[in-house]
């Protein structure tokens, strides 16, 4: 629903923010900007705000205590506020909210906003700003946060008048979650927070000019028919499913589509858990660390049906050699993704859920057993070779750690990973079955994401068991949030795969920089003592045989528990595709590589 006014009818100077005001005559109250901000957040159904107070946002924090349904979580660093809001959004599909003051508070949000922008997750960030008369005059704690965040947000607002505030908040939420989701910043000058105006609880406006940014276009019948023909005719088709399937909640449609066509399903890093990996059609993850048979299948495929993914360079490797024999059907809600990397024979600009539903109707029952057998044959070869490699049995092994977590949580946990080797091991070896159970920073690759994001995930889905899996490098980037978890009584189980290195960088140094381990050896605190210092429980595991007991202990202990697994220090993630190289050209694990 949007206000059906044409542009020409718009009176000069008037903004559309007021357009709906007459529509609903609700009793008006004189409120401050801060109160209006709270009222609007309540109307948007906001439960949690992750934030940190400071000078320019103090009027808002003053009003906040009068709104008990708005539960504010005091983080220990604003970056964590943005990641927690992001984790909440990824887990629930609802808009996550974070709050910071002007200047350093706002700039500390930047990494979190960029993370959400790259992975298309809906968050609204509210930042204080210096009072209007001081803007642009280098006032204390003044940063041009609109300028700073402009390239990493879907949209951002500077609230110039208190009269616009309520509608801007509703617009911001609509923009954040509509169309291709993304982060939106609302910058509120301190004097606007103090100013008062008549407030009526009004229906969220949806103005005509915001329409494009929030809509989900319908797939055209013609495009669906052409796609169906390609699918029916394909001999070696593959489905590549991305984050869009999860964002669109299109699990059932993807399942139905795969089952009807019998086309194997590849899931990108952010698409993991959209399709159960126990299903006979599930292949796994493509790209730089994808298993060899998946990349080989892409190399041999004659049709790629890409759904809600953007053919990122970690997926494609060298673009000109990516799926060289394939034609592409590309379904994405964002028209600017079409033909960006690979030319699509049939581009379908639509929400994944609707497009898949229409495709399920449009396609014929398919049969691809020869093709699937061929791919499974390659998989068996890889597995055989992998099994023949002699491994260190002494240390806790990443795969057995993940298996223990999966077994101990009866496959019901939500796993939030950080960035690096452990992230790839988890993505590859966790056997995802529960929809949306895998949460990670994919596009931006933000170290320090896991712990605060897991906090947001746990608060969004309080019944879920949430495990944060991180390396010893990444965990130290936002480790201060242990205090937040403790203060709020939030239970997150934390697994640290400690190899004493920034492992993924070390791995690249090993392969591409002649083993020159420049600045990658890293030490850390005694995690058991650290956990205790924060009032939490810590466990250290140094032997393979103790892994299961430790995971069990973590599950049986109330509250947040940190389990440090001391893993083999120089283990690599295999296979690996060198950056810029074709994905079919993989570095395979061999006994000589260790």
């Amino acid at each position: 629903m949007y206000v059906a006014a044409t542009i020409t009818q718009k009176p000069e100077g008037a903004t559309t923010y007021q357009a709906h005001r007459t529509a609903e005559a609700v009793e008006a109250r004189e409120l401050t900007g801060s109160q209006i901000l709270c009222e609007a957040l309540v109307r948007e159904g906001v439960q949690f705000l992750y934030g940190y107070p400071g000078g320019a946002i103090m009027p808002f924090y003053d009003a906040l205590t009068s709104y008990p349904t708005l539960h504010h979580i005091l983080v220990r660093h604003e970056q964590a506020a943005a990641h927690a809001a992001d984790g909440y959004a990824r887990a629930t599909g609802k808009v996550g909210v974070c709050v910071a003051t002007s200047g350093p508070g706002a700039t500390n949000l930047v990494t979190g906003l960029a993370t959400a922008y790259m992975d298309s997750t809906p968050i609204v960030a509210i930042t204080g700003q210096v009072a209007r008369p001081f803007i642009g005059r280098d006032a204390f704690q003044e940063t041009d946060i609109l300028g700073v965040t402009q390239p990493i947000t879907k949209h951002n607002f500077l609230v110039q008048r208190v009269e616009d505030l309520a509608d801007i908040v509703h617009e911001a939420f609509k923009l954040a979650r509509g169309g291709r989701p993304g982060p939106v910043v609302i910058d509120v000058p301190k004097d606007v927070q103090f100013n008062t105006t008549q407030y009526r609880a009004s229906a969220p406006v949806s103005s005509i000019e915001r329409f494009r940014a929030t809509r989900a276009p319908h797939p055209s019948a013609e495009a669906v028919a052409r796609a169906a023909k390609l699918i029916n005719d394909a001999q070696r088709p593959l489905i590549m499913s991305g984050h869009g399937v999860i964002l669109a909640n299109a699990y059932e449609e993807l399942y139905a589509f795969a089952e009807k066509t019998n086309i194997p399903v590849i899931t990108t890093l952010l698409g993991l858990s959209a399709f159960p990996e126990t299903h006979p059609l599930a292949l796994g993850m493509p790209g730089m660390h994808g298993p060899a048979h998946v990349n080989r299948a892409i190399g041999e495929s004659d049709l790629i049906i890409g759904i809600g993914l953007r053919f990122d360079d970690r997926v494609t490797g060298k673009v000109s050699e990516f799926a060289p024999h394939a034609r592409f059907i590309h379904i994405d809600i964002d028209p600017s993704e079409m033909h960006k990397v690979k030319r699509a024979a049939v581009p379908i600009v639509a929400d994944a859920k609707e497009a898949l539903a229409r495709l399920v109707e449009g396609v014929e029952q398919g049969e691809h057993s020869t093709w699937i057998d061929e791919v499974r044959g390659w998989e068996a070869e890889n597995n055989e070779r992998s099994a023949s490699i002699e491994r260190n049995q002494e240390y806790p092994d990443p795969i057995c750690i993940l298996e223990a977590i999966r077994a101990e949580t009866k496959d019901e946990a939500i796993i939030v990973t950080d960035v690096g080797q452990h992230q790839m091991w988890t993505a590859r070896h966790y056997t995802w079955t529960r929809p949306n159970s895998h949460i990670t920073s994919g596009g931006l690759g933000t170290m320090g994401f896991a712990l605060p994001a897991a906090m947001g995930v746990k608060m969004g889905i309080p019944d879920a068991i949430v495990w944060a899996v991180a390396g010893d490098g990444g965990i130290q980037m936002n480790i201060q949030e242990l205090a937040t978890l403790r203060q709020e009584g939030i239970t997150v189980k934390v697994a640290i795969m400690n190899n004493g290195y920034l492992g993924m960088v070390r791995q690249w140094q090993h392969f591409f920089h002649n083993g020159n381990y420049s600045e990658t050896p890293i030490s850390g605190p005694d995690y058991v003592k650290l956990a205790e210092a924060y009032g939490l429980t810590g466990v250290r595991v140094t032997k393979r045989e103790d892994v299961e007991a430790a995971v069990q202990k973590a599950m049986d202990t109330e509250g947040t528990v940190i389990v440090e697994f001391v893993i083999e220090s120089e283990a690599n993630v295999y296979p690996m595709v060198a950056p810029g190289s074709a994905i079919t050209n993989m570095i395979e694990e061999s006994p000589t590589h260790e």
């Binding site: 542009i7 020409t8 718009k10 009176p11 000069e12 100077g13 609109l146 300028g147 402009q150 390239p151 879907k154 949209h155 951002n156 607002f157 500077l158 110039q160 923009l175 000019e209 915001r210 494009r212 940014a213 276009p217 055209s220 495009a223 673009v319 000109s320 964002d334 028209p335 600017s336 079409m338 033909h339 960006k340 990397v341 690979k342 030319r343 581009p347 600009v349």
Partner: protein, 196 residues
């Protein structure tokens, strides 16, 4: 960049989509734009004149490292809106994606990629020349008349002329004034619209 750009022959005219749909279904060309396919494009952007709107548009151009030749901002027939004409070099495919990226900006209401055949395009220039000798003044006035230029300011030392037309015409006019001594040239950059 490869300099075969201008000799690429007549590439098929890009389809300009109707404003009402705003959605692309099919476009010509490869996503991995082959070298030497770049050419000058004229893009018209209609945007709401709001805080940060221009920043966002320029931000997309900057991020894509678009090689801009002209960027003109002004009002159009709608109150509260601005009309921006950008002239830039890009490949056909690159520019198509740029158009879609510009469409994603919340403040942007409409984007058109105009081709030479479809558009009328003009620019305006102010040129300040030395005219300290009366003989010079007469010559300059005659020349201005020939180009359809107007004299907008006269001092004892200078004449300021206003000329409108294609970039080529403006350049020619500027060239022919070189002999008198040009003090200052201000060009607006191209503004354009679709024919008909």
């Amino acid at each position: 960049m490869n300099d075969q750009s201008q000799s690429g022959g007549a590439s098929p005219a890009p389809t300009v989509e109707p404003a009402s749909t705003g959605l692309t279904v099919e476009r010509s060309g490869q996503a991995d734009a082959p070298p030497g396919t770049d050419q000058a494009h004229t893009i018209v952007v209609l945007a709401y004149d709001r805080h940060g709107a221009l920043d966002r548009i320029i931000g997309v151009l900057r991020r894509r490292r678009a090689r801009m030749q002209a960027f003109a901002v002004g009002r159009n027939e709608f109150p509260g809106m601005v009309r921006i004409t950008v002239v830039m070099n890009d490949s056909e495919v690159g520019v198509d994606q740029l158009v879609e990226q510009l469409r994603k900006i919340v403040d942007v209401q409409h984007v058109e990629n105009l081709t030479a055949e479809q558009m009328v395009a003009r620019e305006l220039a102010l040129i300040k020349v030395n005219s300290n000798e009366s003989q010079n003044s007469n010559e300059i006035i005659e020349l201005a008349h020939h180009f359809g230029a107007h004299i907008v300011d006269v001092t004892q030392q200078t004449l300021t002329l206003e000329v409108t037309g294609s970039e080529e015409k403006v350049e020619k006019f500027v060239d022919s004034l070189q002999g008198f001594g040009i003090r200052e040239v201000a060009r607006t950059g191209r503004v354009a619209m679709m024919r008909g």
